[in-house]
């Protein structure tokens, strides 16, 4: 038998195939011819006949070599070509009978295939666009993920949108609660519309730790439709007899943190308040509804006597119950609200001071109610993140415009061959949409990453004294809503970035474009410069915002309220024991002074009341607060005229008042305020405060101007001080000033005093410095967010400028060459370019600074104390300007090195 490999090698003409491949082909051909030969032998042919038969398999070796070369040619194509070929080979299958819709579908698929193939040929461009868009989409998605967890994601209960809490406002107070008797009447009467359950807060202190819980009617968990994680939840029979039912359900958080996630907890007895309770169940994680973040246990309402606070049975006239309702199917919230309004009017007919002024159904479907305030916050923050996406889109639009110029010949040919402008626009849109898919994936990856990292960042920076983070922090799930947000952002982004190139490419005149005229169109370059200016403006806005907020936070660290608050702590305690605890604390060596106030400073804004001044007859709305005589020395507030309240006036809540200097000047300009009177009037449409004396009060003193409202309000515009003391049963907090800075020794002193008065009464003690830290933390967090946006904005502004200058340099190379030949120096060309770029940067800087100034004005209007100086503006503008300059310099160096001879050949 002959060597068939040698036979093939001698007959096969040399081809264009590479050597390794050719030898494999030779080997395989030889193997197949040999098979043929052996087959012939097996069929009984002689050796020579078999040899002739095998040799006859291929006769025309030259034409065979051509066929082989052609078959092998696809091997030499690039990977990208083979990839796109795969898309080409997938002809969509159109079912007969669907020709109309199928045609559109088929067209779309073809557009997608074409787009994929085009983009695969420009991988660097595609990757840049994907990463830029992905970053913008991811940042927006991250912000949305946080909002989603708190405001959009329904709680994990059956039909959560039917769950509401019920309350109403009266002439004298907001958010009224129900008495037990009210609830017992409401329950059967509301049956047609809703099932209702009631609950009361419960607090107790154990080993100096205050725990919060909820005492609920037995049907509470049934109404919610909640399921336990361990054991069982409370049942109606647990809460049937007063004083019976010493069972408790623990929250998942407390079960993990205090009981070490002990699986054998069920059946164990634990001390809560004044009694021992049998643990019957543990809830699933985050079983708390809106407003119940700190709740760590649920016990039957019948066990109210075991805890401090109101026992609905022994104090039937005190309204302490919050009522929850699950609306029946087909009952709308509006009809329930209307029914409740009628019910309340019937139950509390005027002139009862519990008569309803406004009725509220507060949805419990989400962790935070999606009310007007929430919508305002979302709008502001999502707008900031949306602006980043817009900047990313501007960046990509510039890339697209540059590419559009390069693709001009292709589009011209398509238009000339009869493609409609709509067809071309659709093709460009599909290219953007194809890019939006991986961009959304990048965004998704970013959201996943930040959702994982954010909780640890919060944990590391969470100020002490704030409620434990684990009670507030919800898992940042990436659910369908988040995915929809990412998809929507990607589609919007894709459409935005297509608009400008579509307008340019489909709007060009064929005759001119085919001669390359559109490439020097001034409109396009103005648009590109405008987009870069917009990126620069947004970047300035973010950086100024970030630095302004940081300045504000450091400013607030030592708020200029004219109060010596550093050694003062706020003590909240049951009103029944408050005055005794206050008296007892006075004798503690660690305590310097104790005062009482309706609301502590640095908390909420001052409440307002209408007053009319004697003699001047001026009517104004003024801020007010009720304080005990010790309030003034406690905060070192000077009495500039007259005197403070006497203990007797304070105890009686006498009709006397002190006014701040600003109030005195406003109400009695040029007159002596001492001995004047103020007539108090409620502000129409707002509940009046029952603590405020009615009628007329006499001014006995003038206090220096200080800040009694929220930290951000600064010094009070006006303030009237009414007299009160710790014995009054009204809503009030105690203020304790220590002799030294040691908060722990104060905690010990307070615990001792409280235990002396009423053992284990729960209390809440927090230093005013912690309040300050809380507010400044908020500002720092906002500043950090603005910084991230600023850095991303800077990145975009840098790359946008760089791309623009590079593009212009490349586009004008020939022109530069001509100018150089005509005698222009490289420096002159660079200077002209710098001037041009500087103009764009200046427009961007001016717009950004103007927007930032507007924003700062808004911020200052909302918080009087904020003083944002010029520093953030100067630094922000300088940083962006320098970045723009550096971004221009690299491509400009290229422009300076242009060789005129080479440039003139450049096309």
């Amino acid at each position: 038998m002959r060597d068939w490999e040698v036979y093939v090698r001698t007959h096969l003409p040399p081809s264009a195939l590479e050597q390794a491949r050719e030898s494999r082909i030779v080997r395989e051909l030889a193997s197949q011819i040999e098979e043929c030969y052996r087959d012939a032998l097996a069929r009984g042919l002689s050796d020579s006949e078999a040899d002739a038969f095998a040799s006859a398999q291929i006769t025309d070796w030259t034409s065979f070599a051509d066929t082989l070369a052609e078959a092998g040619r696809s091997h030499q194509r690039s990977r990208i070509d083979r990839w796109s070929e795969r898309f080409d080979d997938r002809e969509p299958h159109v079912r007969p009978g669907f020709s109309g819709l199928g045609g559109v579908w088929q067209d779309s698929l073809r557009d997608v295939r074409y787009a994929v193939r085009t983009l695969l040929r420009a991988p660097v461009f595609a990757a840049t666009v994907v990463m830029t868009m992905g970053l913008g989409i991811g940042l927006l998605g991250t912000a949305f993920t946080v909002f989603n967890a708190y405001l959009f994601k329904p709680v994990d209960l059956p039909n959560p949108h039917a769950l509401y809490s019920l309350s109403w406002d009266t002439d004298i107070g907001y958010r009224q609660r129900f008495r037990l008797a009210d609830y017992e009447v409401l329950q059967p009467e509301a049956r047609e519309l809703a099932d209702v359950a009631a609950a009361r807060d419960a607090r107790f202190r154990q080993e100096d730790v205050t725990s919060e819980g909820l005492l609920v009617t037995g049907n509470y968990f049934e109404l919610l439709g909640a399921r336990p994680m361990l054991g069982r939840l409370l049942r109606p029979e647990d809460s049937s007899i007063r004083g019976a039912g010493a069972v408790v359900v623990l929250s998942h958080q407390i079960w993990r943190s205090r009981y070490g996630a002990d699986p054998s907890i069920i059946g164990q007895r634990v001390s809560l308040g004044r009694q021992r309770f049998e643990v019957v169940g543990v809830t699933v994680p985050h079983a708390q509804l809106a407003g119940q973040e700190l709740v760590s246990f649920w016990a039957p309402l019948t066990m109210a006597s075991a805890f401090a606070g109101v026992d609905p049975w022994s104090e039937p006239n005190t309204a302490s119950l919050v009522v929850f309702a699950r609306l029946k199917p087909n009952v709308s919230p509006a009809s329930m609200q209307a029914w409740l309004e009628v019910w309340l009017e019937r139950r509390f007919p005027r002139p009862s001071d519990r008569a309803p002024m406004a009725v509220h159904l507060n949805s419990l479907a989400t962790r935070l109610p999606l009310d007007r305030d929430a919508v305002a916050v979302i709008t502001v923050i999502m707008s900031a993140f949306g602006l980043v996406l817009l900047v990313a889109a501007a960046n990509v639009t510039n890339l697209m415009l540059a590419r559009a110029l390069a693709r001009q010949p292709e589009i011209v040919v398509r238009l000339a061959l009869g493609a409609s402008r709509w067809r071309v626009a659709r093709q460009l849109l599909f290219e953007s949409l194809v890019l939006a898919v991986p961009a959304a994936a990048v965004g998704f990856a970013l959201v996943t990453l930040t959702a994982g990292v954010l909780p640890s960042v919060l944990l590391a920076t969470w100020p002490t004294g704030m409620p434990p983070l684990e009670n507030i922090l919800l898992p940042l799930d990436i659910d369908l809503r988040v995915m929809a947000c990412l998809a929507a952002a990607a589609v919007v982004c894709a459409v935005l970035v297509t608009l400008a190139p579509v307008v340019r490419l489909t709007g060009m005149r064929l005759a001119g474009a085919s001669r390359g005229q559109a490439s020097s169109d001034a409109r396009g370059s103005r648009l590109r410069s405008g987009l870069v200016a917009m990126q620069i403006a947004a970047c300035v806005l973010f950086l100024v915002g970030a630095m302004g907020l940081l300045d504000a936070s450091s400013h607030l660290t030592n708020p200029p309220l004219n109060l010596s608050y550093e050694r003062v702590s706020i003590l909240d305690i049951d009103p029944m024991v408050r005055s005794k605890v206050a008296a007892r604390l006075q004798s503690e060596p660690a305590v310097e002074r104790v005062a009482a106030a309706w609301a502590p400073p640095m908390g909420s804004p001052l409440r307002m009341v209408g007053v009319t001044a004697s003699v001047s007859d001026l009517s104004r709305r003024v801020g007010y607060v009720g304080v005990s005589p010790e309030y003034f020395p406690l905060f070192d507030i000077r009495i500039v005229r007259g005197r403070a309240f006497s203990p007797a006036e304070a105890a009686a809540g006498a009709a006397v008042a002190l006014v701040s200097e600003a109030t005195a000047a406003a109400m009695w300009p040029g007159l002596d305020p001492l001995g004047q009177t103020l007539d108090i009037a409620a502000i129409p449409g707002r509940p009046s405060d029952p603590r405020v004396p009615r009628g007329r009060v006499r001014v006995i003193g003038v206090a220096e101007d200080v800040g009694n409202g929220s930290i951000t309000d600064g010094i009070d515009v006006s303030c009237v001080y009414f007299a009160t003391d710790a014995q009054a049963l009204a809503d009030m907090t105690l203020l304790v000033r220590t002799r030294n800075d040691d908060v722990n020794s104060l905690r010990l002193a307070v615990a001792t005093a409280v235990n002396d008065v009423a053992r284990d009464t729960p209390f809440e003690l927090r230093s005013m410095q912690a309040s300050v830290a809380e507010v400044t933390w908020g500002f720092r967090a906002l500043s950090a967010i603005a910084s991230v946006l600023g850095v991303v904005g800077l990145l975009f502004a840098y790359s946008g400028t760089n791309a623009l200058v590079s593009f212009v340099v490349a586009q004008r190379t020939r022109e530069f060459g001509v100018r150089m030949v005509l005698g222009a120096s490289a420096w002159r060309i660079v200077r002209d370019m710098l001037f041009q770029m500087g103009r764009t940067a200046m427009i961007g800087l001016a717009a950004g600074l103007a927007a930032a100034a507007g924003l700062v004005r808004l911020l200052i209007a909302s918080a009087d104390i904020l003083e944002i100086g010029v520093r953030p503006f100067v630094v922000g503008a300088a940083v962006v300007f320098i970045a723009t300059l550096v971004a221009s310099l690299v491509p400009l160096r290229q422009a300076a090195r242009i060789d005129p001879a080479h440039a003139l050949r450049f096309e």
């Binding site: 395989e28 193997s31 197949q32 040999e34 082989l68 078959a71």
Partner: protein
Amino acid sequence: MFSAELKKGSSEMLILSLLEARARHGYEIGKLIEARSGGRLTFALPTLYPTLLRLENRGWIKGRWVEKSGERRRCFYRLTPDGRRVLAQQRETWKDFIGAVKAVMGTSRA
């Protein structure tokens, strides 16, 4: 028997379907086509081998040299996942085509 165009149009699909069940070497493929078609379809080496080469270049089949005990080394071709997908598509198209041809011819006869 059949025109060259008709054979050329179906050669790729025939090869892919023969490789669907298991890997085969080139000569075996040629013989199988001949045997299964009752001798009505034959693909000579100058047609068969370039087709194999083309299919391999497209990534639809993959050849591997195997030396079984007591046998010579042979290049065995197997179907790749891409090839499997293409085969399924071609089958569908072919079925539709045959259906359409039948429908047309049936109508003309009536």
